[in-house]
């Protein structure tokens, strides 16, 4: 059986497991800058 200390650690690990890191968390944000900004219809892809 787990010792009390390990049981507590496990509870924290279990909670953290609900919020696993995603790959984007470790990547630079890629900012695309329009060279010639122009208002495009909202139904066009925006990103």
């Amino acid at each position: 059986p787990l010792q009390k200390e390990h049981q507590l650690q496990f509870q924290m690990m279990e909670a953290a497991h609900q919020h696993l890191p995603v790959s984007a968390d470790s990547e630079r944000m890629r900012q695309f800058l329009p060279r010639n900004p122009y208002p495009t219809p909202l139904y066009y892809p925006q990103h």
Partner: protein, 192 residues
């Protein structure tokens, strides 16, 4: 024979359990490590494109940093003003949308979001009988050689090509097309 977990009977126990509850013996019998999204037969190193402990595969190509000459970083140059970009632009051939293949037009439409190039590409696609479906948010054209199966006042039904931006291919599909869902000719600015 040894009658506890440390002999052959102990080994037999987890072999038997593996047939009914493989998760219980995952440590003892292990995983198929070739199914963890890594190309273990690669001759090149894996780490430069490693997607991390929970990645399903390698990182996307655009996330792999590589040192390039400063002049290539056009986005950085733009931040500091347009002088450099303007000087480069003057040396480039003018855009001729009607000369570009469909692939390039779709690339421009999906990549240059919020930019005049997106509108120009949309305009040229319209000229080539592609129509943008405002609800499906996808480009459609009639499949050549296949006539419409059904036609009403406000709609038609038949085979069409949809352009899928994920696979980057035209995919044929039967579809009911409502005319009011299609975008009219895009307004292309005159000075470009």
């Amino acid at each position: 024979m040894v009658n506890d977990q440390f002999g052959m009977v102990g080994l037999l126990t987890f072999i038997r359990v593996a047939e009914t509850d493989p998760n219980l013996v995952s440590l003892a019998l292990g995983f198929d490590l070739t199914a963890l999204g890594l190309n273990l037969n690669a001759t090149d190193s894996l780490y430069p494109s490693f997607g991390g402990p929970w990645g399903e595969g390698p990182v996307r190509a655009e996330d792999v940093e590589f040192p390039v000459p400063q002049e290539y970083n056009i986005s950085d140059q733009l931040r500091y003003g347009h002088e450099f970009v303007s000087s480069v632009r003057e040396k480039l051939a003018p855009l001729k949308m009607n000369r570009y293949k469909e692939e390039l037009l779709f690339y421009m439409f999906y990549t240059y979001t919020g930019d005049v190039l997106q509108i120009l590409a949309a305009g040229e696609l319209f000229n080539r009988d592609w129509r943008y479906h405002k609800e499906e948010k996808i480009w459609i054209t009639r499949a050549p050689g296949l006539s419409t199966v059904e036609k009403g006042g406000s709609f038609e039904r038949g085979m069409y090509y949809f352009f899928d931006p994920i696979s980057f291919r035209k995919i044929p599909k039967e579809f009911i097309l409502e005319y009011d869902k299609l975008e009219e000719r895009p307004t292309v600015p005159n000075n470009f």
